[in-house]
Amino acid sequence: MAELYPSLAQCAIVATAFKILLFPAYKSTDFEVHRNWLAITHSLPVKEWYYEKTSEWTLDYPPFFAAFEWLLSQAARYADPAMLVVSNVNYDSWETVYFQRATVILTELVLVYALRRFIKSVPQPNTHLAHIASLSILLSPGLLIIDHIHFQYNGFLYGLLILSIVQARKQSTLLYSGITFAILLCLKHIHLYLALAWFVYLLRAYCLDPKSVLRPRFGNTFKLGVGVLGVFGLAFGPFAHWNQLLQLKDRLFPFSRGLCHAYWAPNIWAMYSFTDRLLIQLAPRLGLPVNEAALTSATRGLVGDTSFAILPEVTKEHTFALTFIFQVLPLIKLWFNPTWDTFVGAVTLCGYASFLFGWHVHEKAVLLIIIPFSLIALRDRRYFSAFRPLAVAGHVSLFPLLFTTAEFPIKTVYTIFWLMLFLFVFDRVAPVAEQQRIFIFDRLSLLYLTVAIPLIMYCSLLHQLIFGLGRHEFLPLMFMSSYSAMGVVGSWVGFMVVYFAA
């Protein structure tokens, strides 16, 4: 086998050099969140972890992540003990910054390992495709923006996700896939969005006989049950023992938040809100009834508040129902066709459904779609043409996370660099589809791509030049959000077609 260049390690080294240079870059409140967790886990007994509220950034990740922070805090002692004091709110000495940023880089090695496993798991003639997809994930602008500037540990978490997906490839490692995913759930519960896919796949491919649904394999079921329950028991057992589960539930699932996040994630609800706002302008002419309360409401979208002036209100139940329906559809196909490719497709579609219809979706959650999708984007050209608008829209929609001028060139240039490089390379290597491609969809996705550059130009530079600083600021945000929403929805529809046609 010809080795592929640049290798994963080489890219990781150069990317690390760049990430180290980003140490002094802007960091969001998430940096303080994680520092606070380091302090909480280090200086308080486990019993008090989920009760401590000196800082407003209380611990709201599952127990394993708290344990992970505790592990890090053991090393943090040697960097700067002052960061481990709970009352030291907003503490950011350079030692603290270097330490925390360095831990993000180091824990990302899990991702590198998972990607290596992924490349090795792909059979011979397609290894180069897996290699390219892996590089695209390793160098993803999403991870760069969210982890290394904004500050989070997604590289590590997505590493585990990919590891679990890779383990699902072989019958012999299916059990480990389930356990890894359970661990991942106990690290960050956002992955619950994808859990149904694992549930269906493991049930069908591991617990039941591949030939007949009616013949359960008890041995396998037992192993998986013990493994998964063991993981959950380890994570939540102590808290159950102390009767803290209700408190944990309140911390992990704070339902007092609104439908849309502060910056609209590019999903259906963003489009819905956008339509509502358009209709407010048109209402007098069309003679539509306007809900005055929504117009004057300053908070717009907190629970118990009306957020839509003309369109009907959306409740949590609606979002759940929609999410569930659109998750179940692909899972039905997975049930009847439990192959690895269908599984990854179903994972991706579960990500789509929860991102597009979920309640209070964060724009960062778009990685939940992009990363599993990257693994199969190179299956053939139809997959790739559904992936293309997502790659553009998903990454562009992350731009509002960084609003400082110094980081503006980094986020834009890096994203354009990545898009140019990988869309070109993908385009060159993606194999021809077996089935006829959907002509019109191809063209639309290309058109969508070409709009991106003038739009980014307008939103980041021209708008300020035309209207001056700080005027009509919502306009570019709204354009970006709607544009991205169109991309994500378009790619979702496209991928649904590809998925069900395959």
Partner: protein, 593 residues
Amino acid sequence: MPPPMSSSYRPRKKRRVPPSSGTNNNLILDVGDGKSLPAFPLVSFLWAARAGVSTWLVLPLILMAVGLFRWAVGLWGYSGFQIPPMHGDFEAQRHWMELTIHLPMSKWYTYDLQYWGLDYPPLTAYHSWLLGKIGSLFDPSWFALDESRGFEDPRFKVFMRATVVVSEYLVFIPAIINFLRRYTRMHGVPVWSASIALVAVLLQPATILIDHGHFQYNTVMLGLAVASLDAILAGRMLWACIFFVGALGFKQMALYYAPVMFAFLLGVCTFPRIRILRLLCIGLTTIAAFAVLFAPLIVEASGVEAQEYFKDIPQPPLLQTLPFEVKKDSVFYAPLFQLLQIVHRMFPFSRGLFEDKVANAWCAIHTFYKLHRFDASLLQRASLGATLGSILIPCAIIFRHPRASLMLPALASVSWGFFLFSFQVHEKSVLLPLLPMTLLLSGDGGLSKETRAWVGWINTLGSWTMFPLLQREKLRIPYFVMTFLWTYLLGLPPTSLETYRSRPSSGDSSPAFEPNVLTKILHFCFYLAMIVWHVIEAFVPPPPDKPDLWVVLNVLIGAGGFGIAYLWCLWKLITQCWKIDRKAEEDSQKKKQ
């Protein structure tokens, strides 16, 4: 489960053109049974671009990638950050913007000289004026006259960093791209190797650290000098003059290159036959370029107000030493005053032999044998003599053999001569000899082990000698990252020993391209010294009576290495010249037959 494969599945045709066996290769190691390996990591990064990929894709990607590293270095500290009252080079540049946009030109070179008085040539002043005007559009308070001294603000820092990047992308980078394209074509180097050399040149750590970390606009001057070199390759001598005057007019440091340029242009007019007309054109163009450069300042100085202004302030010393007397009410007084004041500001001969600790001969000698005891004028003459002595041979060679392909080693050896022996050298001046030496990577066999080893070694040493400066400005981490990254990409120590390992199996690489034993020992000693020095500097405090001991050690090692680099460049120049001569002789003999 393997993905389903059907008969209709057909992978796209991969255009695998065999890598051209031309020169400057040795990039692909043949390990037998059809396998090939990239020779060093940078080659792997461009592995996919070996064939069939348009430059229109590769070039923007390269420029974006190197731009990202530049901007990321810019996130770190700069010279004089939060160090009142004088701050540093960042403040100097800001102050020049402030003063050029608020004051009439007649006052540019005389206004409050104690606080970062303008001491760069006119092009820098115009450049500052332009940037000041642009910056005022964003926020005029950044440049409020006198009020804004020591101004620091994150938004303003972004603006300043952006000006460096934009200036570099408008001048240095186009110049380098054009130069490399022409130079590689001249040497028959494949486009792919040229791209690799381009990345290596653009990621050169010392230049990035000084311009984007420490804060200066050296790349503008270097870019103009490279543009001049490019014009020479293209045979456009007059453009070469204009660009070179531009470089000189931006930063007087470009004088390091001037003797070679002068010798070359004179040589072109003398050999193989004397061409008076050409000489005349070159001379006139140069004079005209200088005239245009100074014209706005001189014209402004002839105004009535400016004349009054110049009468009342102390004369520059140069005006007093003129052999003839100029009356204060003469029409020529003000323009002459202005001109001589600029020259006086640019060449501060009244300062000492060297400033701070710099890795050149004088500072090294001073360590063992104090030079204070000598008279300043004697030292000046000694320095002048030594410099002239060191540059005489390369200049003579270039004069006798004015060939474009000899320019790089000649420029490198002459600027090493200047750096080692001339007066008032800054540690940052090391960028001047480093650039032509690094450009050698793009030449015939430039990416072979031997050249790569030498160029890499000198670049590492160059940025290492700037470590004391960078460390003061909290640029320690960017220094390590950029230097390690560059050495890693080029497969050099301390990250890899591959370059120094000989591979007898690879048939095509001739022994001439491998570094010889002496080189290996020499380089290893230096790398070892640098590593040991870093360890000592980090963990061992210097003895209390010699607080500068580590810096002095750095200077001594650096000076030694630079001296060797000077000799190597000189040797390169001589051997290349000899090779060309012999080839020319053979050709002429063939013709006779």
